[in-house]
């Protein structure tokens, strides 16, 4: 697992150096994608240091937590090399397109489809491909997302602080 991270970090550094001066974004992992560094600018946290769940990481599951410069904590969980779930919390909503990857389109479609419910009515996305939730208000938002097809068999998502 560490070998994988090391080789990918080399790519990351090169990609980042190439893109950093143009875009403050990071190429990396997204929901459903391969198990790389989280695709957000920020500081990776030591393994098992998720401030979100404070729950033991299930066996066979790799956890990675990052804190963005704006103070948003993002944790992603992967198994068999693919990211199947993530959870975030912070003063604002982070760049979900970066961490949801291809699933962001489903998320945004659900967001646009709902009637005007005010600024902060909680959002629940429930499609066959993506289940996601965002709630909170200015200064204190949180959310999670998972891909049902990639959740390891027998894993109880509530152990990750996610309500299936």
């Amino acid at each position: 697992m560490e070998h994988r991270l090391n080789s990918e970090s080399k790519h990351l550094v090169l990609l980042f150096l190439a893109g950093a001066l143009l875009l403050p974004r990071v190429v990396g992992a997204a929901l459903g994608g391969s198990d790389q560094r989280l695709a957000l600018e920020g500081a990776l946290q030591p393994s098992g240091s998720s401030r979100l769940a404070a729950l033991p990481v299930p066996s066979g599951v790799r956890e990675q937590t990052l804190i963005t410069p704006q103070g948003v904590s993002v944790t992603q969980w992967s198994a068999q090399g693919f990211v199947f779930a993530l959870r975030w919390q912070g003063p604002m909503i982070p760049d979900l397109s970066a961490i949801l990857g291809a699933s962001f389109q489903s998320y945004n479609t659900a967001l646009k489809a709902r009637p005007r419910l005010g600024l902060n009515a909680p959002l629940r996305v429930q499609t066959a491909g993506l289940v996601a939730h965002t709630s909170g208000h200015m200064g204190a938002y949180s959310g999670w997302a998972y891909l049902p097809a990639l959740v390891p068999q027998g894993l109880n998502l509530t152990t990750l602080g996610i309500e299936p």
Binding site: S9, L96, S97, R116, L119, S135, H137, G139, A140
Partner: protein, 441 residues
């Protein structure tokens, strides 16, 4: 190698941040005019017309216009709040259901005489902090100054429903007898800005428009002061992330008032379960500072520093609950109820639910867990065209959070004590509740 990549990221981040370092900020002292309040003692408030004054643009002598007379028949620390269908939103096919509106007077006080403009249908939001106005609703001759020299500062303001991208300017805000001088405000969808960067559009969908907001802007008067948002500096057609000092950030204007700067009261009358075409309430500035804003007799609900408290509903705890006038309905999970085609809970008949509200932390301890009630009615029997005010529409909430939205405000006066304010009832942030009707709905 993991550490190396992080180490490389940090200096680059700093480079990106450099342009924002040391930027000048707006004056955030609790300054303002020092005139007295001569008419703050009447208790017969809540009158006024049921529609807001239309926007107008006038050159005003400023601040000599203060203290102003009671523009709405109210004490000078109070303005009317109207729930109604906003005609401008209706024209776009958008409902402004349960959206509390005020009129504000926006001024550029950097010139003499100051130039001011009345802007109608601004949403009063207790879930956010600071004034955000559609750039298209602000007359160009106000020419609000940017908050600092150099590259224009922009903000990506995120809400669950979407983001607002806009430029940051210094303005003065007058509401009846209150003046917030030189406060940072956001002009949303400002065409002079480059397009929102991917890190902003990636947070959701763009709600910086009249149809999404329901009005011309948002007046965030919740219990915190700075918005602590995502700021950018923009030049040469692109924008990069920056750290903006707290003193320059878009901030709750209430904290800038001369005297009534420690919180607000929102008061609304009770309404029937079938709804009502319009409702007139009041937004009163200050807590325990005037005869009309005493918290004597209120139930106090302490919150944490994120303005959250615990709600217990049907035996289930919701420790990140909040009271938010910017949320249209109540968003509270009610197991066992089915949803109708609107996505709203649909009990067979009108049903009252109980909730117990209490502090979610041991400090401050909650003196008295507070019982409240809210109604639930199948919204398919409600007329959303004829009526704008409803107290009993409930949608599913979050596992740990009950969002008591505008539905909850009717029949109550609810106080929001600003963070850091020290009152006999406690230290802010906290909520204060009192019923204005027999059933408190």
């Amino acid at each position: 190698m993991k550490n190396l990549s992080v180490a490389l990221l940090l200096p680059i981040s700093c480079l990106l941040l450099l342009s924002g370092c040391g930027g000048g900020g707006a004056d955030v002292g609790f300054m303002g005019y020092s005139g007295g309040y001569t008419s703050g003692t009447t208790s017969n408030y809540g009158g006024g017309t049921s529609t807001l004054p239309n926007g107008s643009n006038a050159t005003a002598t400023f601040p000599q216009t203060l203290p102003v007379t009671n523009t709405q028949g109210a004490p000078s620390n109070q303005v009317n709040v109207i729930i109604e269908q906003n005609p401008a939103a209706s024209a776009l096919g958008a409902y402004s259901t349960n959206t509390p509106f005020v009129s504000i007077n926006l001024c550029n006080a950097s010139t003499q005489p100051a130039v001011c403009q009345t802007i109608d249908h601004v949403l009063v939001d207790t879930g956010s902090y600071g004034l955000r106005l559609l750039a298209s609703a602000v007359n160009t001759n106000l020419n609000l100054p940017a908050i600092q020299n150099g590259p224009l500062v922009a903000e990506c303001t995120t809400f669950v429903s979407g983001f607002m991208w806009g430029s940051i300017h210094t303005a003065s805000l007058q509401m009846n007898g209150e003046l917030a001088k030189n406060v940072s405000v956001q002009l949303v969808a400002d065409s002079s800005l480059p397009p929102a960067p991917a890190s902003c559009t990636g947070t959701g969908t763009d709600i910086g428009n009249l149809a999404s907001i329901g009005g011309n802007g948002i007046l965030g008067v919740g219990p915190l002061i700075q918005d602590q948002g995502s700021y950018y500096t923009c030049s040469a057609g692109s924008c990069t992330s920056t750290n903006l000092p707290l003193s320059s950030q878009v901030s709750n204007p209430v904290a800038f008032f001369a005297l009534d700067n420690n919180g607000v009261l929102l008061q609304f009358p009770a309404i029937p379960a079938s709804g009502q075409p319009s409702v007139t309430g009041t937004l009163t500035f200050g807590l325990n500072t005037q005869a009309d804003n005493s918290l004597a007799g209120f139930s106090i609900l302490p919150s944490d520093l994120s303005t959250y408290f615990n709600a217990t509903i049907a035996g289930q705890a919701y420790p990140q609950s909040f009271i938010d006038s910017g949320s249209v309905y109540n968003y509270i999970t009610l197991p066992g109820l089915t949803l109708n085609a609107n996505g709203d809970y649909a009990p067979g008949s009108y049903t009252l639910y109980s909730a117990t509200l209490s502090s979610n932390t041991t400090t401050p301890a909650n003196p008295n867990p507070l019982p409240v009630e809210f109604g639930v009615l199948d919204s398919s029997v409600l007329n959303f065209t004829a009526n704008a005010a409803f107290n009993d529409v409930v949608d599913p909430g979050s596992s740990g959070s009950a969002d008591f939205g505008m539905s909850f405000f009717y029949g109550k006066t609810i106080g929001f004590a600003l963070v850091g304010s020290t009152l006999p009832q406690g230290t802010g942030p906290f909520y204060a509740l009192q019923c204005t009707s027999s059933n408190c709905l």
